[in-house]
Symmetry: D2
Subunit: 469 residues, 4 copies
């Protein structure tokens, strides 16, 4: 997924530390790598590395990043290994000065563009889409002196998801693709203009939310404030795999609401927390059950469970505790102790569950094995019945726009019907929210539901060559 | 506080890795240091260091700890600096073989005992009570060949809190002081006998809870199973500071229920989760208010808030989100940005709070400054009214039994009346649970309430010389 | 300076670990960063980072570098900060497959080439010459299908020092510039073909030295063995700053012999050890003195001193000991204790020096301050007279070919005459070897002596813009 | 072996950083661990850990060690594993205040004393002799108020090697055992009194050497300067294993001169450098050979080789180079590449050795395998003949006084005659220095030669139980 964050200091103060805090608030969008690039109007200084924001940066590094405007990135890897080269912002030197790019999303035609550029003699040092965008942009800048024109020409070539920050010399361009797949919003305080993947990072820095960047907008941020341009996109419609004409329209990723964004964020005017609670309520209506307690599988199921409880009038409880010390250096139990691995992370509260009919609520079922062990654990803690409710419909198609779903999430769902899954998991009943229920809960229709329906809002017939390294 | 954990493998298997997982489940009881000592019946091998369990140990270290019985410790420092010397288990060589000791609690007379031993020519390499206990024990062993006799004689000398694991050669002694200040319980599975500060660690290892070690019990664990002895304590009563005769009776620390223990633990037959929910309910009765929402200050206020909501019928919500990436390597905001420090940890959900009258529930008020900032933050997020409810009565006296309260907790409460605190914090109303409410919520009377009442269950007139190092 | 190393395994075995050992033997050529790139004929896998070879690599990293041919690099930074981006090999993806480049030397016209490429729309992600070479190469490859042709065309553009390894898919090209500034040699054993900056790395791996790569050669290494091509270079002569016609001829850096290379290496058929001993002998002839002892300033002065002793018949001794534990994590003495810093590294042996007239021999005088302190220290240890002899003539001009001399070395020499330097240093006499003496000692005339004479073997009138980052 | 260092600041300045530099200069005496303890007259603050001096300490740690007098230790482990507990100084609290002890040497009767103390109820937390000494000392202090008296009584009990620093409150006692096994000397500058294992550390700190602590001296260092007392030792003679009466006399370890001490140190008035050169000269006389070159095996053979060359008139050369980057994180070659391991550390200089008859000089032969590989390597580099000369006689008996010889050094020598060793190593001739030659070279007779002769200067019939942990 990735998170992006940028600041322009109108009062000429250092921005690196503020970007650090901004990225820290977006850490949930990517834990693999982090980077910051700042500009003093002439030169760009940057630092990036593998790890959490707090691991990558220290005081000394931040103090060496001297600049009055800057952009940052937290990385969630969908492709490529753990290489510093693939961390962002991607910074290059060109005849138009230094350029830094931070990208959230996945392009579908990046491999095609890459091959095209390679044929013209360009070389690539990373497997990021940002490098493709940088090369395209510089080519366009060569043809026209107008930066806006060059950016527009570049964006016209891109198909897929991109919330994008481009820093050139003394300005930042904040861009959201015409489909609006990924969120992006603007903030302000007295001295700074902000741009962030989510408004939760604005709140942290005590900045005011101004508005979302709209799908198809290019927002130029400079000492003169904000100027807005529109992406020109030829591709008003395309013919999909079934031969239908599909017109382009905004298609924001539903998974941002369901799982990815922080509950205290608001995307395109809709509170993530409220969506999750609505989903819980819808679930209760669609899959009611006679039970004594509703418990989330923490932390992802918390708000769904609250909504389910509210609607069903079944009391909410914390039936499972999460061990907050689970981290990366943990010595994992051996293969034969897989059960232990689950118990080290989650513990049932016997005093709550004993003798009760329990509704467990989560956002999704990954492989099914963890769910099976949780259900078993809850039963062993004394629950009489265990009913599982899932806040996201069954995922049946891969995501091409930057979410690592097909391989990691819902594997169990793609091949089996619900009754079969229920049996495997060992729940007394199992209910997924319906597509209609989800749309209703979110309260908007211009969503990308491709992973749930197989209907993609963009052309998908691109050469998808394995990305290198 | 500290946490202690021990295993005796009846089937002769290695125990180090299991102790590692046990300590991991007790990590909430101490984050400063960790250690494990194991015995192969003849030698004791041990390793301890500063840091979290997952930081102190790795695969190689665990594999070098070869033994069929063993004890472990997680350290929460009340006294002394961050020195490896003060980590536990404390391991010594004596004429009776190797002895390892892990201790939870604080002795009141350890300084007196230490001086007495020093006068007899003993020297001390650490500032732990364990070393005092070890020296006393070896002295008694010299006088009698009987280990149980020696342990009894040793314990007779101790005044204060001690849940204690003593490993000598081929056996472990699990001991709980006559007051039962700190918890300690026994577990079993087919192949092992367990002892643990809390039963949550037994659940993690899929062992069955057998029973609590009772106040005043010495439980000997060996290849022959379990043998139980009683601590002989002269001090049936003492004259307290006000000249009253105080008879010794069980006095389990109420703070274990309120804050310290994990919610999925059960102490002396009483579920910690249930106590916290009861407290919430009592709070609702004692300090009702006309409001729209009840929100915890996460994570410590969660279960209290749930109880408050249940009793008051005011809907429960998650008004504040906790950033789970806050860790030790964090670059702190400068002095002038203290507010930012709070916002980096906690974020209000505007969509939930806007226009609402909110009851915030927490376990305690520390200095007041954090509470003030949270109340302010919640107001800024749009709350019309903010009512604060606290799940623990005002703390007015220091704890001598191992909880670091007087300096860290409730500072604001000790000097001011509630109305003054309310004003400082800026809440619309403020309510602490009453002493009676607390006792009722816990459901037992044999509690240590010294920090709330100033009435101590033991003599306190000991020389409290500054501990060295 | 940097060191480069490559292997082609004819028997299809993994090469990464051998490259690791090769780089370890070249560690003296660069301590700032290290990297290895290997090819399995199709893909290139690489890893590089800041630090010593032994710090950058571990077993796991090496095992993930799966390939049958590969190249490595140790970095000595002349330009740019400590950035991973500037470590080598530089690896790119192009339409001709993956390309990895490792470079030793500095190009004079890289900035000009960079600007030219930027004007054509190319972008740069590092400040290395390798990236410039890579872009040029790929442009040429576009025009011709012949790799050799493209390499020749590319090299024609380069002015300056380059010993170069280029790995493309299934072959390595080992290249030495027409001037032969930096060394490069070939090795063989039964199963592998080797290429290395110095033959000392071949000895370490028990490979046989085959021959030096000659100035102007392109050696193609593949499964078919070795094929040799010639660099075509137009620039047969150039007009230097004084209007003279200067014909191109081999010009190997004299500093390789004097300081840089390892004494057990042989460059272009001449033993480095022998050169240093010869220099010592010449020094004795040019600057004889009546003294009791000759002592090196260790380790750089060792072999010079041996030669001086041999020729002068003044006994050789170890008058100063070097502390071998000096490393990077050392807590430096404060400003006022600079003297201490010298004494922590070097200690005089009083028993040797007392009452003696001592000749100290070193390769160069850096700032003069260290030399002054050493002379003082030796006097304090009891020496009656201290005579300083320097194995390299006074450096008066900057090096443009990759040695960081102008700023680091011989600062004192550039502005002052010898008598003035002697006074500042406090020696009883001071003698630098003469230019003629140096040439005689090395035994070849085709040397680059630019830093000693100001006469450069290449054009130097290039735009030298500050390299970015 | 270990190294010890102490400072008393008469001007009341902080001493921790100076001790750090002192220990750094003694690093060659122990690389396993390091520690510093300082006193502000009342409290002792200390820090110690596994690792090199530069790894154990950083600026922050040093700044927290606030004191006007202090002692330090570098550890070389002869017994026990790598445990922080066994690092020194050993610091305890007693009824006489804090006591810190740093010890160089091994006691023969420490196990007996330990058992005796254990029988009296003492316990031990480490396997160091220092803890035994501390316990004895505190027992004696109990009996008498006089510190000097107590120290004398304590020392009377010790048999074996001890150069000892004992810091109590406001004074340091510097002690050297009656045999004078290990060196210890005093230094001064305007503001401080120093005590150090070797005077090289005094030179580093620019302090003046005052005198050696004589065998059997107790030097008290306080604000009043220096006061000297004598160790009272009953044991004027003992009956050795062969029934002979052996009178106690000074017996300084010959290995300090041969291998252990730094060449720039002077022990008991005799320069270590000069001894090594003398040994080389003696070797040349005892084992002359017709050869072209003398080369040391660096670094240990350097000075021996210089002496051999001087006496034999065969020219000295550097036939082998040592790779100075070999360190701890090195990835070792596999079992089958043992040869490579030697070549990574040492490289022959072909240009020097080719066609020559070479005398190689070293201090000792360890297992023989490394020597065999070096001889082979030198032959392969072209040497016509290889003659090996060893600067220490064959070691035939274990050392009980703190040098880890029996297991690590001269294994090959203990079982075989010289001709057999020569054959195994593959040298053309092999010569060890004789016992008489060694004594002559050192120039004193009061040496401990036990490892060479089997005649021990102390009783050795002690219970040597395996030290624990």
């Amino acid at each position: 997924m990735c998170g992006i964050f940028g600041i322009f200091s109108l009062s000429g103060e250092q921005v690196a530390k503020k970007i650090y805090y901004g990225l820290f608030s977006l850490q949930h969008r990517g834990q693999e790598g982090a980077g910051i690039a700042v500009s003093d109007f002439q030169n760009i200084y940057h630092y990036k590395n593998i790890g959490l924001v707090t691991e990558v940066f220290n005081d000394e590094i931040l103090q060496n990043l001297i600049g009055f405007l800057g952009i940052g990135h937290v990385r969630y890897s969908t492709t490529g290994g753990k290489a510093v080269e693939n961390c962002q912002p991607f910074v290059v030197r060109s005849s138009f000065g230094n350029i830094a790019i931070a990208h959230n999303g996945d392009l579908l035609n990046s491999e095609e563009l890459r091959i095209e550029l390679e044929k013209r003699g360009h070389i690539f040092t990373s497997s990021t889409d940002s490098e493709v965008i940088a090369q395209l942009l510089v080519r366009e800048l060569l043809k026209t002196k107008d930066v806006i024109e060059a950016i527009k020409k570049t964006l016209k070539r891109l198909v897929g998801a991109y919330s994008l920050l481009i820093m050139i010399n003394d300005r930042i361009f904040a861009i959201r693709d015409p489909w609006g797949f990924k969120p992006l919003c603007l903030g302000r305080d007295e001295d700074n203009i902000y741009v962030s993947s989510e408004d939760c990072a604005l709140s942290t820095l005590n900045a005011n939310f101004v508005r979302d960047v709209e799908p198809g907008e290019i927002v130029e941020i400079s000492k003169d404030g904000i100027e807005v341009y529109k992406i020109e996109n030829d591709e008003e419609y395309f013919i999909n795999i079934e031969g239908e004409k599909v017109y382009r329209k905004a298609a924001t990723c539903m998974f941002e609401y369901v799982y990815f964004a922080r509950p205290d964020s608001t995307i395109d005017g809709i509170s993530v927390y409220k969506v999750r609670k609505n989903i819980g309520r819808e679930l209760a209506k669609e899959h009611p059950v006679d039970a004594d307690l509703v418990s989330p599988i923490p932390d992802s199921g918390n708000t769904f469970a609250l909504g389910y409880s509210e609607s069903s009038k079944i009391p909410y409880c914390e039936g499972l505790m999460k061990n907050k010390y689970v981290g990366r250096t943990f010595i994992l139990p051996s293969q034969t102790e897989r059960e232990l691995a689950v118990r080290l992370k989650l513990s049932p509260i016997k005093a709550v569950l004993e003798g009760k009919r329990v509704v467990l609520v989560d956002d999704s079922i990954v492989r099914g094995t963890t769910s099976r062990r949780i259900v078993e654990m809850v039963r062993k803690a004394g629950a009489k019945e265990v009913h599982l409710r899932i806040g996201c419909p069954k995922i049946i198609s891969p995501c091409y726009y930057g979410i690592d779903m097909p391989t990691k999430r819902e594997l169990i769902a793609s091949n089996k019907d619900i009754e079969k899954i229920r049996k495997e998991i060992g729940a007394d009943s199992l209910g997924y929210i319906s597509l209609e229920g989800l749309i209703k809960a979110i309260g908007r229709k211009d969503l990308c539901l491709a992973c749930l329906t197989g209907k993609y809002p963009t052309r998908t017939n691109f050469k998808k060559v394995m990305k290198y390294n």
